[in-house]
């Protein structure tokens, strides 16, 4: 079979590209590796998209100009971004509200517990899966053919020119059915490689065995590897990723948003040897939770244990799994597999170091420790009121940053600096161009939608010439 545009992937970036290309008249085939029930990769777990806008609109509570967005991006990436592409992304993000709404996506005010994002981020009514359903409906209505359970297994690329691909249908069960397809342009929107534990191990060593993957198991980076092997330029390093500390009982894959734990600032975190290792009260949790993935990854067995007491149990968003609970610290330590005496000693040392203050979980209060290493700078109250509670933490990988280099047309740049005429990329697979490091809530969807649209439009324009 021959198509105008072949798209690998089935998430936000792929669908935005498919819709844009189909509306410009191209015959589009979308190959989604996952079965229909699991379609949409990490997009199904998202909740919002960060967009620049000059005025609030009733749902977005105020203006968020491009300049402020750019300042935020520069701060989190510490300048590691391609400025031309970053400017383009933020400028084009202004169109996303209307664009997505035209595809049937609806928005809602920011969710309870995320009020800090109400001005900057557009929340999808019903979450990312609802958003995806709207994109799929629109794509189908525009004549896009979507094949589920079908992965792009091999790419035929000659000197940066895409000729065709091998698709494998039903590749998970039984023998895959192979099909060679030709297309005049290719859009890579197959996500990162965070679900490929072996690849993660190349960067992280054996510690990666203990990582939990917050999103889809289908983002194994097969398309990325093929592209790099075919001479496309790499951006970012394999160990760069968004990693947070999540509930250690989360499933290996697809635990999504509910496994996050917001209790760290209210307690102390002990490693497997019952020792503290970082300032739990350094700053508000939304500003710190993205460093705790790496912190926990660096501990023995990649595990941390948060201990809190009855004073704090209702101060944070409810957790999906109930905490371990006990009337004494020793009993609690036994339940979570820590040495009771060592745990007791750590808690006693912490309690003794807490200076009295006015506790206020909504401000940088003056409850802190003195003479303790590492210190706890805020919200430090002795852990002395039973019952005591414990949650275990493990590193949860959201997505990887290493990807392919693109230009402002979403065209891939080859190792020799030349630009491919018909290889395009969008979404997580090229997010590293904009996001060299750090993370800004909601920018994953921004990059995917902006570059998805560009890739779809340019690909359609290319095939119609």
């Amino acid at each position: 079979m021959s198509w105008d545009v072949l798209i690998a992937g089935g998430g936000n970036a792929a669908l935005c590209a498919a819709i844009a290309a189909a509306k410009d008249g191209a015959r589009v085939l979308v190959a989604e590796a996952a079965p229909r029930a699991w379609r949409g990769g990490n997009t199904r777990h998202t909740r919002n998209c960060r967009i620049a806008h000059d005025e609030g609109n009733g749902i977005l509570t105020g203006p968020y100009p491009v300049d402020e967005f750019m300042d935020d991006l520069m701060r989190v990436t510490k300048g590691r971004t391609d400025e031309e592409l970053a400017t383009l992304t933020l400028e084009k993000s202004k169109e996303l509200w209307d664009f997505l709404e035209d595809q049937g996506v609806r928005f809602q005010p920011s969710l309870g517990g995320t009020l800090s994002l109400g001005r900057t981020n557009a929340f999808f009514l019903g979450g990312g899966r609802s958003m995806l359903n709207a994109l799929y409906r629109t794509a189908e209505d525009a004549g896009v053919e979507v094949r589920y359970d079908t992965r792009v297994a091999a790419l035929d690329i000659e000197d940066g020119f895409f000729k065709g691909a091998t698709l494998e249908r039903d590749w998970q069960n039984g023998g895959p059915e192979r099909e060679e397809v030709t297309a005049r342009a290719f859009v890579a929107a197959a996500g990162g490689f965070e679900a490929n534990i072996d690849w993660l191990k190349e960067a992280w060593g054996d510690a990666a065995e203990n990582f939990l993957i917050r999103g889809t198991p289908y983002n194994t980076g097969g398309v990325l590897r093929q592209l790099l092997d075919a001479g496309v330029q790499q951006v970012g390093e394999p160990d760069q990723c968004h990693a947070v500390a999540i509930d250690g009982r989360a499933p290996k894959f697809d635990g999504g948003i509910v496994t996050r734990l917001d209790c760290v600032p209210f307690g102390i975190v002990l490693n497997a040897e019952a020792q503290r290792f970082y300032d739990e009260g350094e700053d508000f949790w939304p500003k710190r939770y993205a460093i705790w993935g790496r912190l926990v990854a660096a501990q023995p067995e990649q595990v941390g244990h948060v201990l809190i007491d009855a004073k704090s149990i209702n101060l944070f968003m409810p957790s999906v799994f109930p905490p371990e609970r006990a009337d004494t610290i020793e009993e609690l330590a036994g339940k979570i597999g820590l040495d009771p005496a060592a745990t007791r000693a750590t808690v006693d040392a912490f309690n003794a170091a807490c200076v009295p203050g006015m506790f206020d979980h909504a401000a940088h209060d003056d409850c802190r420790t003195e003479g303790l290493d590492p210190p706890k700078s805020h919200w430090a109250r002795p852990i002395d009121t039973p019952p005591f509670y414990a949650y275990s933490l493990r590193p949860g990988i959201t997505f990887t940053y290493m990807g392919v280099r693109v230009n402002a047309d979403a065209r891939m740049v080859m190792e020799d600096g030349s630009v491919s005429p018909n290889l395009f990329a969008a979404g997580e697979i090229m997010a590293g161009n904009v996001l060299g490091q750090g993370y800004l809530a909601g920018i994953g969807m921004t990059i995917g939608s902006v570059f998805g649209r560009i890739a779809g439009e340019r690909a359609a324009a290319y095939v119609s010439n």
Binding site: Q108, L111, G112, G113, G126, Y136, P318
Partner: protein
């Protein structure tokens, strides 16, 4: 009543709702879809009565199933519409008065069909014995078939008993789901508005998703037709009663009188609405329905359809010899409808209204 001495431990359906709600409470993506999620967020633990309340707040629009990132085959197996539907049906039995009638809910469809069939047969037989069989085919005059006083003697208790039974059930439901100090008319007003517009049968604004993830507004439209059709029929009967007793103006009534002006559009609304719901539900996604089938919903819709259809037939064919039989069938249907009212899907509207009142009350308190 205190919340500790609950009649029994949580049922399996309540446990399942509590399990799913603690996942939703950590997620909250569906917050904007309907009343259930904001109500859930005011709680951290979900005891039996909380779950019954949430179940009756749900309109089964389906949106949160198709939108859920944890829907089966995900191991968290979240299917809120199904879990709430299952518990909702169970909760009707839990609060039913008198308690020994509760088992009727379990095989509801069968019971209601039986009650209806029996009532209709009894009416036909009764007429034939009561008046002379000839009156059954004499066109025009209802009271030749059944004297007005006889009608009242049969229907007054059949109407009053369900009213009492439903009122007592409703009080039990209201009390068990917790005290509401400082309840105001504002909450009633808000709930009435939400109920009258079916505010939450719309997937948060996109439309319900009850056949697939493509939203549509059919279910909402058919429900509106049925509901307002029913209200008009009720107004028709009430105005007839007033004309008879207060104005001393017995039937038959001309087309321009209130019983007819309310009754004809009401009957049409019932027929089109109920038939529409039955038609639409044939393609309903089975995953949204309770796994344990009671036939409750279908039995109720069919009864409403029969009410409307026999009423309209009577209106159009009263001058023909079919009148007597039609009257018997219609009155039999009305009778069956009344006596099964407290033990069938009819109560969903009342419990849902009560839940909406509580919701309006709680939200006002939590977000003044």
């Amino acid at each position: 009543m205190s919340r500790i001495d609950l009649p029994s431990l949580a049922s399996a359906a309540q446990d399942e709702v509590a399990r799913q709600m603690s996942i939703c409470n950590a997620c909250r993506y569906c917050e904007g879809l309907c009343a259930v999620f904001p109500a859930m967020e005011l709680r951290r633990v979900f005891e039996g009565p909380d779950t019954d309340y949430l179940a009756n707040l749900c309109h089964n629009c389906g949106a949160c199933y198709y939108d859920c990132q944890y829907a089966p085959p995900h191991e968290f197996a979240v299917n809120v519409p199904q879990a709430l539907a299952e518990l909702r049906e169970e909760s009707y039995a839990r609060y039913a008065w008198p308690g020994f009638m509760a088992p009727v809910f379990e095989r509801n469809g069968v019971w209601i069909a039986l009650a209806a069939g029996l009532s209709v047969a009894l009416f036909i037989l009764g007429f034939a014995l009561w008046s002379d069989p000839g009156a059954l085919t004499a066109s025009g005059n209802f009271y030749a078939v059944m004297p007005h006083n006889a009608m009242v003697a049969v229907f007054a208790p059949a109407f009053l008993f369900p009213l009492v039974a439903i009122a007592l059930s409703l009080v039990r439901f209201w009390r068990l789901t917790g005290p509401t100090p400082g309840l105001t008319f504002a909450a009633l007003r808000q709930a009435t508005r939400d109920a009258a517009t079916l505010r939450y049968l719309d997937g948060g604004g996109m439309g319900c998703m009850t056949q697939s993830e493509r939203p549509d507004t059919w279910r909402r439209r058919f429900h509106h037709l049925t509901f307002y059709g029913f209200l008009l029929c009720f107004a028709s009967t009430s105005s007839g009663t007033i004309m008879h007793y207060v104005l001393d103006w017995p039937a038959p009534y001309a087309w321009w009188t209130p019983p007819k002006l309310f009754g004809v559009p009401g009957g049409l609304g019932l027929v089109i609405g109920a038939a529409g719901l039955i038609w639409y539900d044939r393609a309903r996604d089975g995953r949204l329905r309770p796994a344990k089938q009671t036939g409750m919903g279908a039995a109720f819709t069919w009864t409403l359809l029969a009410l409307g259809a026999t009423g309209l037939a009577l209106y159009w064919l009263r001058e023909t010899p079919a009148m007597g039989v039609l009257l018997a069938v219609h009155l039999g249907t009305v009778f069956a409808f009344f006596i099964t009212m407290p033990y069938g899907k009819f109560v969903h509207g009342l419990y849902r209204y009560a839940a909406l009142v509580r919701h309006a009350y709680e939200q006002k308190r939590a977000h003044p």
